[in-house]
């Protein structure tokens, strides 16, 4: 069998994904494609996204039909050079399908998040780690109303060479809904105590939105413990914040209103699936969530403005900081990225506030490169 044959498999986006539906092929059979080209649109129960080719070459065979639902890892297509014969590709497809059937029989359950007892609260944390060793760990902190699953497209790839923790903030996801502190400094104390419970001493941090401000607060509190900070569409860099979004998130109790609210997070509103809205309602209905969200919003975004701004502290902070922003961010203005020097800010076109979901491979690469650079 020629090594020149490269399989395109159904990706795994997040823990919950066990299968995906091929909505559409974006390239024709026979087309020359490069690694990173958008080749397929794939729909999962949570989200619809474009899939970027992991390999370059000629798309010799579309194995999956449009509309077909297939398990993670299933062969979708075959990329190969012109030198490979059709017969070789037929044999490859047949072999892959047989292997797939075998794998389905021996499927292992995905890693599950655990509950960690911190000081005054319990944190739900998903830990992903390489099989052995690994560099300094990375902590991922989601934004207001989010949970660890916001990192579903980034965490697995970031965890190839280091342990990556994605936690749910107090009042969020599967963490306890009791707040030990509701403003940015208070939430940073809570996160620090969860890290202590996990036994994490030194770490990189990447935070989204409110989670970015918390990450920055951790670095300011203990600059020797934090080796780098990645701020993604982050709070803490200026007063402006779209409080219509914050209020809409808390108050919407009709599906239509919630959908319209959440669509503000994305450059492309088609990202918002009915299951995404359903999951948000399921979260908001949990005992204690609405009071917790209200308390955090009142503390962090009092009077329609961000209450904690770190721009004047950045020049003296002895920890490398970078910013990643979606150009079409409708929640926190992209101008806030200018708090960082040009070399340390990355503005991605075609993405909104959820840039790590809309442009996952770019964001994952930027975090990975920065973390490697900061580790020296």
């Amino acid at each position: 069998m020629s090594d020149a044959i490269k399989p395109i498999g159904m990706p795994k986006w997040g823990l919950a994904m066990t299968e995906g539906k091929v909505n559409a092929w974006l390239v024709e059979e026979g087309a020359d494609i490069a690694a990173g080209d958008e080749i397929l649109e794939i729909e999962t129960s949570k989200i619809t996204n474009v899939f970027e080719s992991p390999a370059g070459g000629t798309l010799r065979r579309k194995v999956a039909a449009e509309g077909e639902t297939l398990p993670v890892g299933a062969l979708l297509g075959v990329v190969a050079d012109a030198g490979v014969t059709d017969a070789e590709i037929d044999a490859f497809v047949e072999m892959a399908k047989a292997a797939q059937a075998e794998a389905a029989a021996a499927a292992v359950p995905p890693p599950a998040p655990e509950i960690v007892q911190a000081e005054g609260w319990s944190a739900r944390v998903l830990t992903m780690a390489p099989e052995a060793g690994g560099a300094l760990p990375l902590l991922l902190i989601h934004g207001f109303g989010g949970d660890y699953q916001n990192w579903q497209f980034n965490q697995p790839d970031l965890a190839i060479d280091r342990t990556v923790y994605a936690l749910d903030l107090p009042g969020h996801g599967g963490s306890s809904k009791v707040l030990t502190g509701a403003d940015v400094p208070g939430l940073a104390v809570a996160v620090r105590s969860a890290l202590a419970a996990l036994g994490v001493e030194r770490f990189h941090v990447a935070g989204h939105s409110l989670g970015g401000a918390i990450g920055l607060q951790l670095a300011l509190n203990e600059p020797k413990r934090v080796t780098s900070v990645t701020l993604i569409c982050s709070a803490g860099l200026g007063p402006e914040i779209n409080t219509d979004y914050i209020e809409g998130f808390i108050k919407s109790d009709k599906r239509k209103d919630m959908k319209a609210t959440v669509e503000k997070l994305f450059a492309d509103p088609a990202f918002v699936s009915r299951d995404m809205v359903d999951d948000l309602f399921k979260y908001k209905r949990l005992d204690g969530v609405l009071p917790a969200l209200r308390t955090i919003a009142d503390a962090v975004f009092a009077g329609g403005h961000q209450t904690t701004i770190f721009t004047d502290k950045l020049p003296t902070l002895d920890v490398p900081v970078q910013a990643i922003w979606g150009e079409a961010d409708a929640i926190i203005p992209v101008a806030h990225a200018h708090a960082l020097p040009e070399a340390r800010r990355h503005v991605l076109a075609g993405a909104g506030h959820m840039v790590h979901i809309e442009k996952p491979s770019d964001v994952t690469r930027l975090i990975g490169e920065f973390v490697a650079f900061a580790s020296g």
Binding site: G174, K177, D253, K254, R255, R274, K282, R285, L286, D287
Partner: protein, 334 residues
């Protein structure tokens, strides 16, 4: 979050509310069970095992086995609610409700109004309904339209395990009497149900499928069949909106009207007897408030107007199913 059956979801809702609020008690025939039965005192947990484990955790003070006297223990539950407890009474089959109508219709439902809002009656009556259990005409009815008819009562009809837990916790925390309908054929259905307590507000319909060609409104177990029909119709490029009202009192007509304004076509699926039912109620409201949007006559998918037959073959014919919903959908779309 984990997979739980409809039965486990209800059990968890009861246990969590009993832990949260010491005023919550459970009473009914054999809800503790075991008296005179072989084995532990917690041998039964009700005829379907829904309350199993509660007596072990909360004791006989809060899990009360009652005599087979619905008129007595439902009256006792209503009185206990009026004087400060939050009882969850288990009236095994809704078909037996006839013997305690006065306690429900003329007492529990009226207190808030008769005492100028100064009295509340936070009682929940859990009850089994529905055909398919080979239990014949006296144990198979869907009597929720009768309770929906009475102002002062709230009526919840969960369609799956997730809905069951959230609606039951809401029912227990509600200050009005709530009749909580559990379909016998749903107890083993499994769904993702959060471990934490949560509430689903009353009077807010759930849109279980979004669509623009046709609206299907369905109740309780029928939501499952309506969803199946919608998924099959989607393969034929017919886009169906399915609405589960969740509660029939209060009733979210707005969501139904909004959808019918968009689709112009309506099928209502109701397992209750077809006269004076939720099907006729929804149809009448839509005709009154959205007549000019209708592009076709409304179709009601219901059983025939006869008692539930004992013959298994006839019972299977009696219950509305996915095929009949699809046929109704096609006739409305024709």
């Amino acid at each position: 979050m984990s997979k739980k059956s409809f039965r486990q979801a209800i059990n968890e809702a009861l246990a969590q509310e009993m832990r949260r609020d010491h005023r919550v008690i459970v009473m009914g025939e054999d809800v503790a069970g075991g008296l005179g039965a072989p084995g532990d005192q917690d041998a039964w947990g009700g005829p379907m095992g829904v309350t199993k484990g509660l007596v072990g955790e909360f004791g006989r003070e809060r899990v009360l086995d009652t005599p087979i006297t619905e008129s007595g223990f439902i009256g006792a539950a209503v009185g206990a609610a009026a004087t400060g407890l939050r009882p969850v009474a288990d009236l095994m089959f809704v078909d037996f409700m006839g013997v305690c109508f006065d306690q429900i219709f003329n007492q529990a439902a009226k207190f808030r109004y008769m005492f100028g809002g100064k009295a509340v009656t936070p009682v929940v009556i859990r009850t089994m309904y529905g055909a398919g259990f080979r239990a014949a005409s006296q144990h198979s009815q869907c009597l929720y339209p009768i309770f929906t008819h009475i102002p002062g009562l709230k009526v919840a009809i969960p369609s799956n395990a997730y809905e069951a837990k959230g609606l039951l916790i809401q029912a227990i925390r509600d200050d009005d009497p709530v009749i909580f309908f559990e379909h016998k054929m749903l107890y083993d259905d499994i769904d993702e149900v959060p471990d934490e307590p949560y509430t689903i507000p009353f009077g807010e319909a759930n849109v279980t499928r979004e669509g623009t060609d046709l609206t299907i409104v369905a109740f309780g177990r029928m939501v499952k069949f309506a969803n199946e029909a919608a998924d099959l119709l989607a393969k034929q490029k017919i886009s169906v909106c399915v609405i589960d009202p969740r509660t029939t009192s209060p009733m979210d007509y707005d969501t139904i009207l909004e959808s019918v304004e968009e689709t112009g076509r309506l099928v209502v699926v109701d397992e209750a007897h077809p006269r004076c039912s939720m099907a006729t109620d929804v149809a009448a409201f839509v005709v009154q408030d959205a007549f000019k949007h209708l592009k076709a006559p409304i179709k009601m998918v219901t059983p025939p107007h006869v008692p539930v037959p004992f013959s298994p073959a006839l019972e299977d014919e009696y219950i509305p199913n996915t095929a009949r919903i699809m046929a109704a959908a096609r006739s409305v779309l024709a």
